[in-house]
């Protein structure tokens, strides 16, 4: 913590391969977002279910790249990966349960 330690850390040169990989992931995220727009406007409204499924799939793809590459979770120890991912099963359960619940509230109203 003292100032006499200043400048002890050595600056390393940038790793071109690593930086190229970061921009490649950025490009994938951009392309997937652009595809979401395309699906939203090119597909007619009659294909509502197909649209919703594609949106969710594309969101999962984007989430995968952000979490695995940007947040570096893909390069962590397996037990850490699972302790973050498995609790998310509760979210999936709650989502399905409450959307079904919402549908039946509409019928009862």
């Amino acid at each position: 913590m003292q100032s006499e330690e200043t400048n002890k850390v050595a600056v390393q040169p940038p790793d071109k391969e690593k930086i190229r990989k970061i921009w490649r992931v950025a490009l994938i995220l951009g392309i997937v977002t652009a595809c979401e727009f395309a699906v939203a406007f090119i597909l007619p409204p009659e294909y509502r279910m197909i649209k919703i499924v594609t949106f969710i799939l594309m969101t999962v793809v984007k989430a995968f790249y952000i979490v695995a590459e940007f947040m570096h979770l893909g390069h962590e120890v397996k037990s850490l990966i699972y302790s973050i991912l498995i609790p998310m099963a509760f979210v999936v359960w709650l989502l399905i349960a409450l959307i079904v619940e919402g549908g039946s509230i509409l019928i009862v109203r």
């Binding site: 913590m1 790793d15 973050i84 609790p87």
Partner: protein
């Protein structure tokens, strides 16, 4: 038995018996991950509530061209969010929110570049990329402020809605939105908009503050004296999480 402990194969057996870090991650990073997990539950609860309330309200069944705002059915998001600054009266569905998405993704990219520079102890590069990240965050917040302002003030035409006042039905034209009534659809629609994007915006705002703190400490040589830039990584995790949440909000609030 003690001699067998030195065998290479015995390493995994002793992983949870102390003296080692089973997750091979520092305390701070690990706690950030578990905080983000709990925060993910909060955001999931909000988005799932949106799903519940949306499905318990009638959906619009007619064609998209004939769509009109009404208290009777849930609005089609692309009809609500179609305004862009300086282009008054030009319907550009989801364009502005798309721009916001790109801004946030780009600021996430500059954050990864800052983390990468931190690994190399490159103070100049950390400063540069942190500034870009802060700039991206502030731009996003500015866009959101405009979007809120437009949502609250509403369109020129407004929507005719019926209210029960003192036992009598009164028709009134509603402009814009607040927590009790809005021109776009049933009252919970605006309430959910304010809660979900507001909670996310609060996260972005505190993320910008944290990013600024990191930038300030990097610029004043604090991390050089400490010998490592791990703090950039931890705040980076938070910033990517904010971006991740926006990806989900974008899909479930604006697209679906």
């Amino acid at each position: 038995m003690s001699s067998t402990a030195t065998v290479v194969g015995a390493r995994s057996e002793n992983l949870w018996k102390g003296g080692k870090s089973p997750f091979k991650a520092s305390y701070g990073k690990l706690m950030m991950w578990f905080f983000l997990l709990s925060d993910a539950f909060t955001f999931s609860a909000l988005l799932i509530t949106y799903g519940l309330i949306r499905f318990s309200n009638p959906a619009y069944t007619g064609s998209v061209e004939d769509f009109q705002f009404s208290q009777e059915w849930w609005p089609i998001p692309e009809k609500v969010f179609e305004a862009v600054p300086f282009l008054h009266g030009v319907p550009l569905p989801l364009v502005f929110v798309g721009i916001m998405t790109f801004i946030l993704i780009l600021s996430s990219v500059t954050m990864v570049l800052a983390v990468e520079a931190g690994h190399r102890n490159d103070r100049k590069a950390v400063e540069k990329w942190m500034l870009w990240t802060i700039f991206g965050g502030l731009t996003f917040l500015g866009c959101q402020a405009w979007e809120w302002s437009h949502f609250i003030h509403g369109t020129d035409t407004g929507t005719i809605a019926r209210f029960l006042i003192d036992g009598e039905w009164v028709t009134k034209t509603v402009h814009g939105a607040n927590l009790t009534v809005n021109e776009y659809g049933p009252p919970p629609f605006a309430a959910l908009f304010f809660f979900i994007t507001g909670f996310h915006g609060t996260h972005v705002a505190s993320g910008v503050l944290l990013n600024f703190l990191i930038f300030y400490r990097a610029a004043t040589g604090y991390y050089d004296r400490r010998g490592h830039y791990e703090m950039v990584e931890k705040v980076g995790l938070y910033w990517h999480f904010v971006d991740l949440v926006w990806v989900f909000v974008f899909t479930f609030f604006y697209l679906v």
